[in-house]
């Protein structure tokens, strides 16, 4: 399902602007950029902001009953605001198989970004080495990204509990002896 296009791209990840306001993928979602030899990423940040960085949004609903009414009375908002996502690159496809490491070059700007289909998602997530790049990304929300990814993936597989256990054990291995962090992630996986 196509959701947007890349507007920034580098070796470690890419930023995509979604076509529709508030209709971006969830945190931790597995997305891909490009149609052939796709680059895969995990959504690490979702933001909605004004298109013009010099103009900050102003308050509009002080005298209105509901939030929805704000948008109904200001239909221009859907054009002035945008939802953007940032993804950490976790692998790519060479057309034959998935590689769970960084591609030689990042995806092009304006590459189409889409959420992976169930089969592709399950297939890519069979091996979980790529979670190490999320763990070591240094992002403050890193634990939530992993937790959310594992939860979403487990809903797609036939045995969610085993998958969660397998993922948590892989994470334990990546973390070495850091039991505190493991506990923090495990709480988010459950």
């Amino acid at each position: 399902m196509k959701i947007g296009e890349i507007i920034e791209s580098d070796t470690n990840g890419f930023t995509a602007r979604c076509y529709k306001l508030y209709e971006g993928p969830d945190l931790g979602c597995l997305i891909k950029a490009g149609t052939d030899n796709s680059v895969y990423g995990i959504v690490a940040h979702v933001a909605t902001l004004g298109l013009d960085p010099s103009r900050r949004p102003i308050t509009r609903g002080e005298n209105l009953e509901s939030e929805d009414e704000v948008y109904l009375r200001n239909p221009q908002l859907t054009r002035l605001l945008t939802t953007e996502i940032k993804a950490i690159t976790v692998g790519f496809s060479d057309g034959m198989e998935f590689k769970h490491y960084l591609p030689a070059s990042p995806p092009r700007l304006h590459s189409f970004v889409s959420i992976c289909g169930n089969d592709e998602w399950i297939s890519f997530s069979d091996r979980l080495y790529f979670l190490k790049s999320v763990i070591s990304s240094g992002l403050p929300q890193g634990d939530d990204i992993i937790g959310s990814f594992v939860r979403q993936t487990s809903e797609l597989v036939s045995d969610p509990v085993s998958y969660k256990l397998k993922a948590a054990r892989s994470i334990a291995k990546f973390l070495g002896g850091d039991t505190n962090r493991l506990e923090s992630i495990v709480r988010r996986i459950r």
């Binding site: 334990a172 506990e183 495990v186 459950r190």
Partner: protein, 545 residues
């Protein structure tokens, strides 16, 4: 060894270790540390060799060193499950005992003592029944089924031919099953036909009916193998009370007692060295075979005169005379010349039978036990010695192996007397004259170190005392690690065997003895041989001429 197959369950992976300290195996996530027992057998599949080893230690490890101070929330079962096998894991230490080559250059050599360790990350499996058969040999053909390895059903066999070539020991504290194990070993020797048994049956447990720990009656050798076993008794009345007639009643004349016997009895008779040594002076004064009879006739002043004559303190000689009174009081010691019991025993043994000498009421008297065992063994040994020497000169057949079983062996083989008694000589000179010992004892630390070092195969049940454990493990490779195995044996039906008749130390659950099924298993094995069938015929129709 057979190939690693589906019957071998993978335990884990080799992560570190050394030949001297043992190999560390990290258990796989699925395998709980609680399922591994010290003493169990494992197979490690190396690159060029397959290693067969014993688990000598089980431990808990963690990749997070702060874990013991900062506990994770393991009340959450999911968290506990995640941690198990990853951050926290079980390790076992395996002592590699044997190697079997698995590449073409090493085929055909069979198991060899391990001189190296498996590579990192070698897979470790629990041993299968096939592995046990391959290492210890199948039942029959000189291999006797003594029990099963821990948590396995495989029949673990002893090489009886190797067993009888050397002196052996069964050790363990009271009530741990020494007698049952000894019965099994005796049956093994009997069924193999590799040696004859002479058993000094102190507590009347081997010949006819013994009792188990639960006080139920168990059959003796005579009941199981009546045609092959002869029971000699020192106390025919006791035998009759227990419902059978011994084949021979043993008696001794004064002429059978030698100064060496007095030396052996020095402690039990509470004699000083001078008094015990006086027996030698008496022997040279009166002559061999006559000294005892002549000396015990003397009274009061005669003893003083004799003391002056042979230059021994009269007080020592009087003490000796008083103490010898105890020997005279034994009803199996007669002042007349009696039938030569040693000769009867030897003849019986020569006929291919096994002899159990029951002590009846004298079993509780160490003096009687030691006196009789020493007199008989000395004479039997002399016969064997001369026959062996004649056979070396080409004048006689080589005597068959004889295994003499003695209980409370430390009384005969203590440091102070092992050099003087015939048992010490047999233990040290071993197989030179085809006579070996099967010593049964609960205080192995009291047995002379030199004798212990000559013991070929040791079967050891639970021992508590550190000294006893040190004593049985002295000279065994990897003894520090076996120590922990030995100290953790169950107090019933478990033993560790090491020495010449097994390729590697092994913990066994002793074979069942005492049930109708166990008896029938012995009989089945026995009847497999031609000799066994012959004996069965003799049981039914009497001896064939």
């Amino acid at each position: 060894m057979s190939e690693i197959g589906p019957e071998n369950y993978q335990l884990g992976t080799v992560v570190s270790g050394s030949l001297s300290e043992g190999v560390k195996v990290r258990l796989s996530t699925e395998y709980s540390v609680e399922n591994v027992k010290v003493g169990s057998n494992v197979v490690i599949q190396g690159k060029h060799h397959r290693f067969f080893g014993v688990v000598t230690d089980v431990s808990l490890g963690s990749s997070d060193l702060t874990l013991q101070y900062d506990l994770p929330d393991v009340s959450d079962s999911f968290m506990a499950e995640v941690l198990a096998g990853t951050t926290v894991y079980g390790t076992i230490t395996v002592e590699p005992m044997l190697t079997i080559g698995i590449d073409s250059s090493s085929d055909g050599f069979g198991p060899m003592p391990a001189k190296t360790v498996p590579e990192h990350f070698s897979s470790t499996f629990d041993a299968s029944d096939d592995d046990i058969y391959h290492i210890f040999g199948p039942e029959g053909d000189g291999h006797f089924w003594i029990g099963s390895p821990l948590d396995m059903e495989a029949k673990l066999c002893l090489d009886i031919e190797e067993l009888v070539k050397r002196s052996n020991g069964v050790f363990g504290k009271s009530g741990t099953g020494k007698t049952f194990l000894t019965r099994l070993l005796l049956i093994g020797i009997l069924q193999s036909g590799k040696a004859s048994n002479l058993i000094f049956d102190m507590h009347n447990e081997y010949g006819w009916q013994g009792t188990s720990e639960s006080s139920t009656a168990v059959k003796g050798l005579k009941q199981l193998f009546s045609a092959q076993v002869a029971v000699f008794s020192l106390d025919a009345e006791s035998s009759k009370r227990r419902g059978f007639h011994p084949d021979f009643q043993v008696e001794f004349g004064y002429s059978d007692i030698d100064p060496e016997d007095i030396q052996l009895l020095r402690e039990t008779l509470d004699l000083s060295n001078v008094a015990a040594d006086a027996a030698y002076a008496l022997e040279s004064r009166f002559g061999r075979g006559k000294w005892f009879g002549e000396f015990v006739k003397l009274r009061g002043e005669d003893i003083n005169n004799l003391a002056t004559e042979i230059n021994v303190a009269s007080s020592a000689l009087s003490a000796l005379r008083r103490r010898l009174e105890r020997l005279i009081r034994f009803d199996f010691v007669s002042q007349n010349d009696v039938a030569d019991s040693a000769d009867s025993i030897i003849k019986t043994l020569r006929n291919g039978k096994h002899v159990v000498l029951e002590f009846g009421k004298h079993g509780n008297n160490p003096t009687a036990y030691m006196l009789v065992a020493n007199i008989l063994t000395r004479r039997i040994y002399e016969r064997y010695q001369s026959q062996k020497e004649e056979s070396l000169g080409g004048g006689a057949e080589v005597p068959p192996y004889l295994v003499i079983t003695i209980e409370e062996a430390h009384r005969f083989l203590g440091s102070s007397m092992a050099s003087q008694t015939i048992f010490g000589t047999i233990a040290r000179e071993m197989r030179k004259y085809n006579v070996t010992l099967l010593v049964v004892d609960q205080r192995p630390s009291d047995i002379d170190e030199e004798v212990m070092s000559q013991i070929g195969t040791k079967v050891v049940c639970l021992l508590d005392s550190g000294r006893d454990i040190d004593s049985v493990l002295s000279g065994v490779s990897g003894n520090r690690k076996l120590r922990s195995v030995l100290a953790r044996l169950d107090s019933r039906q478990q033993a560790i065997i090491f020495g010449h008749s097994v390729p590697m130390p092994v913990v066994i659950r002793t074979r069942d003895y005492g049930s109708a099924e166990s008896y029938s298993e012995f009989m089945t094995t026995n009847e497999r041989t031609v000799e066994g069938l012959q004996n069965k015929l003799e049981d039914l129709y009497g001896p064939s001429d």
